[in-house]
């Protein structure tokens, strides 16, 4: 009819073209650096970069042979597992307790969120001061562990809160009417219902802990987690096997995160989500 209608097919194809170009650019931005790192990890050169003359798997052998990376991996997994369990458990208790209150208190929420809002460096500094003045020895446990639990707790809370909000309480009430004690109700009714959410939260908090660097850096003393090891390699020794280490670390985190993603998809299907969060 009018001009706009006539020019529509042309405009549409132009829009489609723009969309394709943008999408390709977007994913190139995300993925080219990762591909480059993977390729460089196989480059047979003591300088990180191009041109590549020949390929080798030697850097992987060097990276793993020194034992420092393996130690760092073990440290990261230990702290990650411990802080994921403690952080998720603490958050779960808050979420379960919160269900007895009609609305989230205005004091509670800011306190729960505070560790996310604090700039990473400031958190590192306050924990350095805290442990320094109280005379706690810097290392993996307790300092790094404490910092990681504090860091993952709010995320676990934010992940679990909407899942439990939508949970139908009539089953629990029925169980209680039949004489089940609270612990029994939790074990037999609540936990099976929220298990997928809890598992995905555990994996999510594990990856948060595994990746944490800045806060850790201030309190870990002479120990190394994987990000700390990487940081030292990058800033102090620019080692030729750095890309290989990067690829190994990526592989570890990606595997865990993919597991978390898969379990959260399953969780979404199984756990009824009745309502969006309200304040």
């Amino acid at each position: 009819m009018n001009y706009a209608a006539k020019s529509k097919p042309l405009q549409k194809s132009r829009w489609d073209l723009a969309r394709v170009v943008y999408t390709v650019a977007f994913f190139m931005f995300l993925y080219v650096p990762i591909i480059v790192l993977c390729v460089l990890s196989f480059s047979n050169s003591s300088v990180i970069g191009f041109p590549i003359h020949s390929f080798t798997t030697n850097w992987y052998r060097v990276a793993l042979a020194s034992g420092v990376l393996v130690d760092a991996l073990v440290n990261s997994v230990r702290v990650g597992v411990a802080s994921a369990f403690v952080g998720t458990a603490l958050a779960l208790m808050v979420v379960l307790g919160l269900r007895n209150f009609p609305r989230v208190s205005t004091v509670l929420l800011p306190l729960m969120i505070l560790p996310i809002v604090m700039p990473a460096v400031v958190t590192g500094v306050i924990m350095l001061i805290f442990f320094g003045l109280t005379g706690v020895r810097f290392g993996l446990f307790p300092t790094t562990f404490v910092v990681h639990v504090t860091w993952v707790l709010p995320f676990a809370f934010l992940a679990l809160y909407p899942r439990l909000e939508g949970l139908d309480r009539s089953l629990e009430e029925a169980a209680m009417d039949l004489g089940a004690r609270p612990l029994m109700v939790f074990r037999r009714i609540v936990l099976p219902l929220i298990r997928p959410a809890v598992i995905s939260t555990l994996l999510f908090t594990f990856t948060l802990s595994f990746d944490e660097f800045v806060r850790t850096f201030f309190v870990i003393g002479s120990q190394r987690t994987v990000p700390v090891h990487l940081w030292i390699l990058i800033t102090e020794e620019v080692a030729p096997f750095l890309p290989a280490v990067g690829v190994i670390v990526m592989a570890v985190t990606l595997t865990t995160a993919a597991l978390g993603f898969a379990s959260s998809l399953i969780g979404l299907e199984r756990v009824p989500r009745l309502s969006h969060i309200k304040e």
């Binding site: 990762i34 603490l90 379960l96 729960m112 990746d211």
Partner: protein, 285 residues
């Protein structure tokens, strides 16, 4: 009775957070008013640390630069992420879950790795220089791709993209697409429908994403250290060096208080405008 039990259940986490955030923040604030000597901090009350910050041009400049870099990063991230969220939120797009997965994937890698990734891209021996040399566009590798503010922007946008993408995608995805159809039926062009319907409804997501990215960028430490130069150090780096190199805890503490105040004020304004939980829509994954 039940509420008592519930409070007991919540107590461990609340005590934990109180001891390991509120108490340390209080200690930090106290120390920022102490004096620093060559042998460490002394509990002698003084305003000197704050006087140093206000009177020393380096610190003022660093804070100004930090806020500027954070603001520019926020805008750049928004421009990069919004169209992707829009494209992916349209219904009946084939392979949507797979593409979403591809958007998520890079953000599951370590943050340190994500910042380091741009070194072999922009560096002297990097991909960009190799391509330019191969194509014969330049005869010598270009050095100004890296160790400047531009490289820091690239690194920060790359590091924080997901925090912008996620809340925007969520707010676009839950929109009723009939609204758009209705707008089209009433004669709106796609651009008009976007401007008058889709975009205004996605504003909470935009707001949430911008707040998160701005906050994270304000506290950036790794990216400016790896990709930036001496003239692009941000507040995080200056604070870090007070503890790691200069060993001036009192000054470091007062710089931390200043950064914390700036960030918390920004955050409180956003939270007041939008509500705390809404603001963290993207952090829940």
């Amino acid at each position: 009775m039940r509420r008592g039990a519930a409070l007991l259940l919540m107590a461990p986490a609340l005590v934990w957070l109180f001891v390991f955030t509120v108490v340390p923040v209080t200690m930090l604030t106290v120390i920022s008013f102490w004096s620093s000597t060559a042998y460490g901090i002394r509990p002698v009350w003084t305003l000197d640390n704050y006087r140093t910050i206000v009177s020393n041009y380096v610190y003022i400049e660093t804070f100004g630069r930090t806020l500027r870099i954070a603001a520019v990063t926020t805008v750049l991230t928004l421009l990069a992420a919004y169209p992707m969220a829009l494209v992916l939120s349209r219904p009946r797009r084939a392979g949507k879950t797979a593409i979403l997965f591809l958007v998520f994937l890079p953000f599951w890698t370590s943050y340190v790795v994500r910042s380091f990734l741009w070194l072999p891209m922009l560096g002297r021996n990097g991909l960009l220089n190799m391509l330019l040399l191969k194509a014969g566009i330049v005869a010598q590798p270009i050095d100004w791709f890296i160790y400047n503010e531009g490289a820091v922007y690239v690194g920060l946008v790359y590091a924080y993209m997901l925090f912008m993408f996620l809340p925007i995608y969520q707010s676009l995805d839950k929109q009723d697409h009939k609204l758009e159809e209705a707008a089209a039926d009433l004669g709106a062009t796609p651009i008009q429908a976007f401007r008058k319907v889709v975009f205004p409804l996605s504003l909470p997501g935009v707001f949430s994403g911008c707040t998160m990215v701005f906050l994270f960028a304000c506290g950036a430490y790794v990216t400016p250290q790896i990709l930036g130069g001496a003239s692009t150090m941000m507040a995080g780096n200056v604070i870090g060096s007070q503890f790691q190199i200069a060993n001036n805890w009192a000054l470091g503490a007062s710089l931390s208080v200043a950064l914390m105040m700036a960030v918390v004020v920004c955050f409180a304004l956003s939270a007041w405008r939008l509500g705390l939980l809404q603001l963290f829509a993207g952090a829940r994954q």
